[in-house]
């Protein structure tokens, strides 16, 4: 009896984790792996007449306009990520360190309030703020600081502003969570060893919150480089980013093979970014 029981326990024990993990694996297989394989096949197919081809990939490297879209995407994403981190960190720090504990929940809720509105609506709202007759230009011309309205809307600056508004909120959450996890004893120990507030921040707090920053920065990178809506609404198509280039292939011509190849190249860039972050932060050991 005991022996039978002992035999059955390990079998049940080994099956249970698989049973629990199967839905997630099935989901990933169905909605990520299989579509990805399909996209891979599509990217190696000629748009006209079918058949195997590498031309969808070679076009990216030989057509300067396509290549420029990637450069634009990387530039915009880099600017947005850096600016968002620089704005979010002090914001998160004030929330975590300066706002009394009982007000923190409310302050955090207010900080993420813009998340509650639609992404598209938020982008169009920025267009109204930045437009020639928008709030900013009216304020500047009304106060006499400028005589002619500035071109703020339909520029890279506008697209970056829309992005930063969104990602500062996201980064604030990740950095705030990281700051709250830090034990006060780190600061006390640093003070005991004679470190002032600046030195404590630079040598203790900042390195310890780096994982939070990097996780937020990576999320910002991934979401920003793949976003179509914000540059489309706010950028005024005065330059193309990769998602816009991908969409362009589909609209009239229905060139899914080229769109697939461009998407896979974009995904490869995201993968490189992930590998760089993972190695630096040693996320795999966490």
């Amino acid at each position: 009896m005991n022996s039978a029981g002992n035999n059955s326990v390990p079998r049940a024990g080994s099956a249970l984790p698989w049973a629990l993990v199967t839905p997630a694996l099935g989901w990933t297989l169905l909605f990520f792996v299989l579509p990805f394989i399909a996209m891979g096949f599509s990217s190696l197919t000629a748009h006209e007449g079918g058949g195997f081809t590498l031309s969808n990939y070679s076009q990216f490297f030989t057509n300067p306009s396509y290549w420029q879209a990637m450069v634009n995407s990387l530039e915009v994403t880099a600017i947005v990520t850096v600016v968002s981190v620089l704005l979010a960190y002090p914001f998160a720090w004030i929330l975590a360190e300066q706002v009394p504990e009982r007000w923190q929940r409310l302050a955090l809720m207010l900080a993420v309030l813009p998340f509650w509105t639609s992404y598209v609506v938020r982008s169009y709202s920025w267009l109204l703020v930045l437009a020639q007759n928008g709030v900013i230009n009216r304020a500047l011309t009304g106060s006499g600081l400028i005589t002619e309205p500035l071109q703020l809307a339909n520029t890279r600056l506008a697209a970056a502003t829309g992005f930063v508004h969104f990602f500062v909120m996201l980064l604030t959450l990740t950095i705030f969570a990281n700051l709250k996890q830090l034990s006060p004893s780190y600061r006390k120990a640093a003070a005991d060893l004679g470190a002032g507030p600046v030195r404590t921040f630079l040598h203790v707090i900042l390195p310890l919150t780096l994982p939070g920053i990097m996780v937020g920065a990576f999320l910002t990178f991934v979401l920003c480089i793949g976003d179509y809506i914000t540059p489309q609404i706010l950028g005024g198509n005065n330059e193309l980013l990769m998602p816009q280039l991908v969409m362009m292939q589909i609209g009239r011509r229905g060139d899914f093979p080229l769109a697939s190849a461009l998407s896979i190249i974009l995904m490869a860039v995201v993968t490189v970014a992930y590998l760089a972050c993972a190695r630096w932060l040693k996320i795999e050991r966490a």
């Binding site: 006209e48 057509n63 300067p64 306009s65 396509y66 420029q68 879209a69 634009n72 267009l127 437009a131 020639q132 007759n133 071109q151 809307a153 339909n154 489309q232 609404i233 005024g236 198509n237 005065n238 330059e239 193309l240 280039l245 362009m248 589909i250 609209g251 009239r252 011509r253 229905g254 060139d255 899914f256």
Partner: protein
């Protein structure tokens, strides 16, 4: 029995059976509903309830619509669907042959549709008739030309495409983000016929496009370019026309369009019926309704965008006719040129040229 029913696995099994039965009922109901429905792949102007409701009520049918933009995207939806899922489709008139090549469309019965009432120039037989059979009927048309705010620009300047690249309007221009009509306008500006464009014309067309871009503040899709003109962000829309200005006429009567001396590009959209439609009688009724004087008036003044009805007998009010400049159409049509209809290779090259223009600093 009681032991069985108390077993959690059996309870789960029983619930699953019940769920399956409910799902089967729902699916059955869905199939029944499907049989009485009409499934239409459409542009946004067909989703206006003011257009669909009278047809639905008169025929006791539900019109299920799916909007798409761009023929490629529309045909992709069809390819990903089961044969018979769709009954009718709205398509660029010049792209009707693409659907015919794929074996998607059913020839239309000419004797049951009001072809005699259509403006002759918009029948587009070159595209809508393939192999001697008619597969599409033009339902709405208009012009990709110059849309402008007449209180901000000199209307006399808008009679020439040269104004679009002049320093006088630098930074006051938006370009509609669709390569074919704007390349057509560039062709008109350099004195080329839109129907005769070849690869050899691309360098000159690119120069013209780059000049337009240098003057432009933005290149925007429908909503963005319309908003830019309506809010005063720009004063001129290259590629604009009645489809931008007419719908906004009440709120902003200063918006207008011109057909410059070089001409304008004629756009037109057609209705086609799917060969595999399970509801061809209703599909034909729908096309007949859209082409009727009442349907044409409702389609022409759809909340999404206005445009000229293809049927000369459209039941428009005098005010609506005035806004659409209905009575001026014979003159406009005489000066309008065909929408560029490149073959696949030239189409790709034109789109790449457009990409290059967008990336130009």
């Amino acid at each position: 029995m009681s032991v069985k029913s108390g077993n959690p696995l059996c309870i789960l099994k029983r619930h699953l059976h019940a769920a399956c039965a409910a799902t089967a009922l729902l699916l059955g109901a869905g199939n029944l509903a499907e049989a009485a429905d009409l499934n239409a792949l459409i542009w946004c102007d067909h989703s206006d309830p003011a257009l669909l409701q009278p047809f639905e009520e008169a025929n006791n049918v539900k019109v299920n619509v799916k909007e798409f933009e761009g023929t490629g995207a529309g045909l992709a939806i069809v390819e990903q669907s089961q044969p018979g899922d769709w009954d009718v489709m709205v398509i660029d008139s010049i792209d009707v042959p693409r659907g015919v090549e794929k074996g998607l469309f059913e020839p239309l019965p000419e004797d049951k549709l009001p072809f005699a009432d259509l403006f002759p120039q918009v029948k587009m037989d070159g595209s809508t008739v393939v192999g001697g059979k008619r597969y599409g009927i033009t339902e709405k048309f208009g012009y990709n030309t110059i849309g402008f705010n007449k209180t901000k620009v000199d209307p006399a300047d808008m009679q020439s495409l040269a104004s679009l690249t002049s320093d006088k309007y630098k930074g006051k221009v938006a370009i509609y983000d669709y390569y074919l009509p704007v390349i057509g306008m560039a062709a008109l500006a350099i004195g080329k016929k839109t129907a005769e464009l070849t690869e050899a014309d691309l360098p000159a067309l690119k120069d013209e496009l780059l000049k337009m871009k240098a003057n432009a503040k933005l290149v925007g899709e429908v909503t963005a370019s319309q908003t830019a003109l309506a809010t005063g962000e720009v004063d001129i829309l290259v590629g604009g026309g009645e489809w931008v200005t007419a719908g906004l006429a009440k709120e902003n009567p200063a918006l207008d369009f011109s057909i410059p001396k070089e001409g304008a590009v004629l756009w037109s959209q057609s209705l086609a019926m799917f060969k595999d439609s399970k509801n061809k009688d209703m599909a034909l009724k729908f096309i007949q309704y859209i082409m009727s004087p009442e349907g044409q008036a409702r389609l022409a003044t759809s909340s999404c965008y206005w445009g000229m009805p293809a049927n000369t007998k459209a039941a428009l009010t005098d005010d609506q006719k005035k806004v659409l400049r209905f009575d001026e159409q014979p003159g406009f049509l005489a000066r309008a040129q065909a929408y560029p209809a490149p073959n696949a290779d030239l189409d790709k090259k034109m789109q790449d040229m457009w990409t290059e223009m967008l990336q130009a600093k």
